[in-house]
């Protein structure tokens, strides 16, 4: 008796693994909107040093330039007014005791700055601090005023300083802090003019496929 041929059971259906198509790699946020390279602008930086915001106005960013101008000049001169106009100066330090740093005896401007380090910050407000430099260059202790700017930003005498600190409130001291902050903030403004803001926007009308 012939036996029926044994039927080979069909192989169970094995699901064929399907390889998903590789997903496109996600672009980092910085590449998502590729901006044109930063164009450095040293002329605008110099203008913003001379007068806060002038570099931004030169670049066509009028509103920001005006904000920097009124904000920083407002803060600087408000601070000067708090100190009755006697808190921005660079002293002539020739007659003052010697100063040594790392064994080196200081002279000239470094010595003057060691007696008035606040001026290192005030200097960056630009031309508004230049009268102090002129007063330093032409200082004559026998005169009560300088040749060009009179008593403006001239180093006060010891008696004047004593009077200010003894008779006034603390506004004289707080005033020079305001002037230093205004000068140091202008460093940020100079950098904004030089290289743009920290978070840039695409230029108007610019498309990512535009050639740079």
């Amino acid at each position: 008796m012939a036996s029926a041929p044994s039927a080979v059971p069909p192989a169970p259906a094995v699901p064929v693994p399907t390889v998903p198509p590789p997903a496109a790699p996600a672009k980092p946020a910085a590449e998502a909107v590729a901006l044109p390279p930063v164009k450095l602008d040293p002329i605008a930086a110099l203008l913003s040093y001379l007068i806060p915001g002038l570099g931004q106005v030169y670049q066509g960013r009028i509103g920001k330039g005006l904000l920097f101008f009124f904000g920083l000049y407002g803060l600087f001169f408000y601070g000067m007014a708090m100190g009755q106009g006697k808190n921005v100066w660079l002293p002539r330090a020739a007659d003052l005791p010697e100063v040594e740093v790392f064994g080196q005896r200081l002279g000239g401007v470094p010595k003057a700055l060691s007696y008035r380090p606040q001026f290192l910050g005030q200097f960056w407000i630009g031309t508004a601090a230049w009268p102090a430099v002129v007063q330093y260059a032409y200082f004559d202790k026998d005169q009560k005023a300088g040749p060009v700017f009179g008593a403006f930003e001239r180093a006060p005498s010891e008696e004047e300083l004593n009077d200010l600190q003894r008779d006034g409130d603390k506004r004289w001291d707080l005033g020079w802090v305001y002037t230093v902050i205004a000068g140091v903030l202008n460093l940020l403004v100079i950098y904004d003019a030089f290289a743009g803001p920290m978070f840039r926007e695409p230029p108007p009308g610019w498309r990512p496929d535009d050639p740079w």
Binding site: L75, Y78, K170, R171, L174, I181, L185, P197, F199, E201
Partner: protein, 58 residues
């Protein structure tokens, strides 16, 4: 006049100028400036409150 009346000038100018060096769009400048202003004011007030409590109860 108390020196504390001079502080808002500093707070407003520092907040606005710093925010304007980080952005070019006015809506972002104002939003960031308000954020910095609130944080600076809260910091100053917390120090003032701490000093007040120290001077009153210690």
């Amino acid at each position: 006049m108390s020196i504390y009346w001079d502080l808002p000038v500093l707070l407003v100018v520092v907040s606005l100028v710093y925010a304007a060096t980080r952005h070019d769009r006015w809506d972002k400048i104002v939003r960031e400036a308000v954020g910095w202003g609130v944080r600076i004011a809260a910091f100053l007030m917390s120090i003032g409150l701490g000093l007040y409590l120290l001077s009153t109860y210690l």
